[in-house]
């Protein structure tokens, strides 16, 4: 068989490694074989390609020293940093929050794992726990690691030596330039050179190709030049309306902290492409980010209307139902995911919890067993933590104690498990241990109100009023609506005035 044909066949079947090998052999025979060169470029890109719309890694520097946001003191409901009061949202007493003070989501994407911290202090503190390490800037983050990863697989140096490439020569040849650009952008991860090539190429085609404008915008976005990115995207949309362009533009506005503008852009896109699920999901995500859960669920349901296999929509709706006291509805959604072939720890853990709270006890432990057998180091702590809750639910305190211990054994930074262990120790009458557990818990996770409040209540009983007052204050900071903490503060204030 003709090796070129075989290589193309491998490429189409996404067997990039094999395609790459054949192309290398062809290029050894004839170094000027353009088709083999272009195919190899595309194969190498395909190996490390991730959807750029979905990728968004923010480092500490971008987050804290961000001067792109327009309003420093935004009105509530117009900024992603100060989300609104949240209608239709279960209180923090029911639905746990992430360290940015936002309710936990049903779905994680790159960049949404830990949310935006409010202050520098918080941002620096976050990476202390081993599982949420955040890069200092996005230039030192996952992008670079992926770039270097691609270098490793070629021990005899990079395939294309960018420093010796004559960009203007390639820019004038659209068939090669596009493959070369994607190679530089995704595989080499060299945004500056990619930008140079893209700007030469867009000139070479007299600014008539929307594709190059979108690529320019991607480069500007990576470099943090959001206004330039915006203008390129707008011009691209004027030329040719594409879903991708709308998505990128929405992303730019989210980064500029203008969520409502982003929603507008998505809606414009929806007028042109009615029922496009990616655009609908974009709107739903923004509503979720603004703590407008009712609206978010509405849009996720719209998504399911057009694509009933959409994992993100199903997972988010299920989480919403679970935390609004409808575990049996959540169970239906998660079961749907299982039927669709999602098979991982997270899903089985959620199924187990839903089964337990929907009183389907026969399935609960089986689900958790399955979850544990699939779990890796990062998730097994959470699974054991949830099994501990099941144990508490059936009144088996000893089992619960052991479960929380197991949770700590697999993840030593599990703040929730520390807190619950503290509660159990307190029930046994071990006051000193309980105190130590609460303290460990709130040092690890200052965004949770539970350990603060527990510590305050315990210190109050022990007569250590000053630390009780301080802890209660921190509890109210973490969760404004917590009645018990407020009452405790009231009592303590009375005490202090009597003194």
């Amino acid at each position: 068989m003709d090796p070129m044909f075989l290589a193309y066949s491998y490429f189409r079947r996404r067997k990039y490694q094999k395609c790459d090998e054949i192309c290398s052999q062809l290029l050894e025979k004839n170094p000027y074989d353009q088709s083999a060169w272009a195919l190899k470029t595309r194969a190498l890109t395909g190996q490390v390609y991730v959807d750029e719309v979905d990728v968004d890694e923010e480092g500490i520097a971008e987050m804290v020293m961000d001067d792109n946001a327009i309003a420093t003191v935004a009105r509530p409901g117009t900024s992603l940093r100060k989300p609104g009061t949240g209608q239709g949202l279960p209180s923090q007493g029911v639905r746990p929050v992430t360290n940015s003070g936002r309710p936990v989501s049903g779905f994680v994407r790159p960049g949404t794992q830990s949310g935006r911290p409010g202050t520098m202090e918080q941002a620096i503190r976050t990476p202390r726990t081993a599982h949420t390490a955040r890069p200092v800037t996005s230039a030192s983050g996952r992008f670079v690691r992926l770039g270097t990863a691609s270098m490793l697989s070629t021990p005899d140096g990079p395939f294309i030596n960018l420093a010796r490439l004559n960009f203007s020569k390639y820019a004038a040849r659209p068939n090669l330039a596009k493959a070369l650009f994607e190679y530089i952008f995704h595989h080499e991860n060299d945004v500056r050179n990619a930008l140079e090539l893209a700007s030469l190429a867009t000139e070479a085609c007299q600014f008539k190709d929307w594709w190059w404008k979108v690529q320019l915008a991607k480069c500007y976005y990576r470099l943090g030049m959001f206004r330039e990115s915006e203008s390129q995207l707008k011009s691209a949309i004027k030329q040719q309306e594409m879903i991708d362009s709308f998505l990128y533009l929405g992303k730019v506005y989210v980064r500029l902290d203008q969520p409502l503008r982003a929603v507008d852009i998505y809606k414009q896109g929806l007028e042109k492409f009615p029922g496009e699920t990616t655009l609908l999901t974009g709107i739903a995500r923004i509503h979720e980010g603004l703590n407008e859960m009712d609206d978010a669920v509405k849009f996720y349901k719209d998504v399911l209307h057009f694509d009933n296999m959409h994992v993100e929509a199903i997972a988010c709706i299920a989480t919403h139902h679970f935390y609004t006291d409808q575990p049996e509805v959540a169970l239906k959604f998660y079961r749907r995911l299982l039927q669709m072939g999602v098979y991982n720890t997270e899903l089985f853990n959620n199924l187990g919890l839903c089964c337990f709270y929907a009183q389907q006890y026969d399935m609960t432990l089986t689900c958790f067993e399955r979850a544990l057998s699939l779990a890796d180091d990062t998730t097994s702590g959470d699974v054991w933590f949830n099994i501990g809750h099941v144990a508490l639910g059936i009144g088996d305190v000893n089992l619960a104690y052991q479960c929380f211990r197991m949770s700590l054994a697999s993840n030593n930074d599990h703040a929730e498990a520390y807190n619950n262990l503290g509660v159990l120790e307190l029930r046994r009458g071990h006051i000193e241990e309980a105190r130590a557990f609460f303290q460990a818990s709130f040092v690890l996770a200052p965004h949770m109100y539970e350990p603060h409040y527990n510590f305050a209540a315990l210190a109050d009983q022990l007569g250590d009023l000053q630390s009780s007052y301080n802890a209660a204050k921190r509890a109210v900071d973490a969760y404004e609506g917590h009645v018990d903490s407020k009452e405790l503060i009231q009592q303590l204030k009375q005490h202090f005035t009597l003194l």
């Binding site: 490390v48 991730v50 959807d51 979905d54 990728v55 007493g93 639905r95 746990p96 936990v104 989501s105 049903g106 779905f107 994680v108 994407r109 790159p110 996952r142 690691r145 992926l146 270097t148 990863a149 490793l152 697989s153 994992v311 993100e312 997972a315 989480t319 679970f322 935390y323 995911l337 999602v342 991982n344 720890t345 997270e346 899903l347 853990n349 959620n350 919890l353 709270y357 998730t379 959470d382 933590f385 949830n386 809750h389 508490l392 703040a415 929730e416 807190n419 619950n420 503290g422 509660v423 307190l426 949770m448 539970e450 409040y453 527990n454 209540a457 315990l458 018990d484 009452e487 405790l488």
Partner: protein, 71 residues
Amino acid sequence: MSSEIKEVLPKQGVLYQEDMPTVVLCKPKLLPLKSVTLEKMEKMQKDAQDLVKKQEMEEKTIGHSNLPSFS
């Protein structure tokens, strides 16, 4: 004798209702599912790390075998 059973309501005395504040447990945590992109990125990262480890191991073993043996 009527078959109806009448409820008993205390007409006098004070009704006490005391709210006992107790310590709170952290709530059960649903785990978020991972998007395809995230899974792919994590897989690529893990593969790369494994590769680095493998290469380092190989270098070590080669380095050891090249050491002159003083016997």
